[in-house]
Symmetry: C2
Subunit: 349 residues, 2 copies
């Protein structure tokens, strides 16, 4: 017998009701654990449920009750371990709360993001957690999500009308993280510190640059505009931009990197130019990816606990389901400095 042959139709409430001579209503009450049902009746129904191998049809129940038991989780880059961890954390917390996760991966494409949202919304999720694709826009997103489904935007700012507060937000504390990294380098004795990598128009780059600039200002240190170096936030592009650090004299002795990928690329670029990261040039990352602790030299960085952020995002969207009326929340998650060997004191001047 092939397992995939539906030899008999799925068993329904009606089958159970008929099988033990009660009404469908009674079976429904048993399923939902109502105390109204006589315990003898309950036992009979439960035995029949087991005997026939009944599987609850949650979609039908949701339709009737006008409820939903799913949450959409739309991720910009699931292949990136940071977002994979985030997704794992969100899924874990959603599952504990009895929700199923409707996954969508956009691969950083705003076009795919629209397609994914349009498809997800037809499945009637109770809410949507969105880690937006780079370059996507609030109006577009809302056109797909509509006015009936709570939305939590994670990680990046989505351009929104001034003061509209049309969704909840969860971000990590980019500004504070960059400040911590910068202060750490300053405390080691560095004075010429660059901010390396990322595109200026990204909200997280902007926030991290602000933290960096704040720390420099507070320490009475000048920032040479030539020390603000852009690159795509990838290892390869960062390696290619290494030269820009040393274009002008005197060159920086340290760099706060936009993220770990950029920092790892910079290490590569430094090594190629005969510099030894962690010995004659100091640098810090952001994210604390798995590789950060095992690369050579190990990377000083800002740890952000993506799995915890995922869990938090689930909590926030579930809270919102309970309080649809309250004002949109803007939540900032803490980060912490992890000191490793890549952040050395300046070598003798």
């Amino acid at each position: 017998m092939s397992r995939n042959t539906p030899q008999r139709r799925k068993v329904t409430l009606a089958d159970i009701a008929q099988g033990c001579d009660v009404s469908r209503a009674t079976v429904s009450l048993v399923l939902r654990g109502s105390p109204l049902v006589n315990s003898a009746t309950r036992a009979r129904v439960e035995a029949e449920l087991k005997r026939q191998g009944y599987v609850y049809n949650r979609a039908a129940a949701n339709l009737r009750r006008r409820t939903s038991s799913s949450i959409g989780l739309v991720i910009n880059d699931l292949g990136n371990p940071f977002f994979a961890e985030f997704a794992a954390g969100a899924d874990e917390a959603l599952a504990s709360a009895g929700y199923v996760t409707l996954l969508g991966n956009t691969g950083e494409s705003p076009v795919r993001q629209q397609a994914v949202l349009n498809s997800l919304i037809e499945h009637g999720p109770a809410g949507i957690i969105l880690s937006p694709a780079e370059g996507s826009e609030g109006d577009q997103v809302l056109a797909a999500v509509g006015m009936h489904t709570p939305l939590l935007v994670f990680n990046r700012e989505l351009p929104d009308e001034e003061g509209a507060h049309r969704w909840d937000t969860l971000e990590m504390d980019n500004e504070h993280g960059a400040r911590l990294a910068t202060e750490h380098l300053i405390s080691l004795g560095h004075q010429r510190i660059a901010f390396f990598g990322g595109h200026r128009d990204s909200s997280s780059v902007e926030q991290r640059r602000r933290g960096y600039a704040g720390a420099m200002r507070d320490a009475g240190l000048k920032v040479d505009p030539a020390w603000l170096i852009e690159s795509a936030p990838t290892r390869l592009e960062a390696a290619r931009q290494t030269g820009a650090l040393f274009a002008r004299d005197p060159a920086p002795t340290a760099a706060v990197c936009y993220n770990d990928a950029v920092a790892l690329g910079l290490m590569l670029g430094l090594t190629k130019r005969g510099r030894r990261p962690g010995e004659d040039f100091a640098l810090t990352g952001f994210d604390d990816v798995a590789e950060a602790s095992v690369c050579v030299p190990p990377l000083t960085t800002i740890a952000v606990d993506p799995r915890g952020l995922g869990r938090r995002s689930a909590e926030l969207i579930l809270e919102r389901l309970g309080n649809p009326e309250t004002e949109a929340a803007y939540t900032i998650a803490p980060v912490r400095l992890v000191v490793r060997e890549s952040s050395c004191p300046p070598s003798s001047p």
Copy 2:
């Protein structure tokens, strides 16, 4: 106005029908693109759809049509980049085919796997792709999945009744991969080669050991049982087991590692004992994780294209939906050797 206030109920087919004076049936036909509808009527309906911001309720349609537009994707460890890539590939292919992905992450716990499957199945997926948690069993899984939902098992063998073929299977070619790695080391001149890491009772370890042993046999080389070294498949445990390689004289000059994590751990262990991987000890990995190309020395390994596997798994489950009657398929995906610096010739004897 708070966006989350449902100021009016969601708009339904009936609203549209009323709004442009046709029956619900006609609206339904327009939605499903039926050629039966007069083009003037169609245009009127479509305008009304847009005007009221109608969102299709796929769950209701699925209930009525007794169809499903979702596929369950149950992953043993989403935090592992290999499985995250797999999930991304599967989601991508499922989305293209018009399905939504119901995600479940089990974190390698058979208990959570049961809970996840029991929850997923209530949402009526058309099929389930399962990358099983270590130690989970076929009977358990089937008890949750039931007889009505096609199942594709990825990556690991799930204990099954002899010859029952109760599900489709997709695995990578573990045996061939290990054989390629072993033959590569042999071609470099190694004769004493260990197989390092993994638990013997895991099906993939068994398959990789078989490939290793076959290559050794074919080259006329003996395998000392002391060269089959077990460890948990993690970096840390592998590092701890390094000593076992050198317990007996003469020691191996190379090792085929169960996977990249183990290989990276072994590198660490070797370095701690004053050995230089890639110079006086050769080793290979399996998986080609991102780190493999950037660690020092870069790791020779077996590339398995997890994203491609994900896409393939989606194709397989969708094919199965179309052919419920045909025999269960056992698919083996190809792998390839990637040569990097960690596999050096033997140092002078």
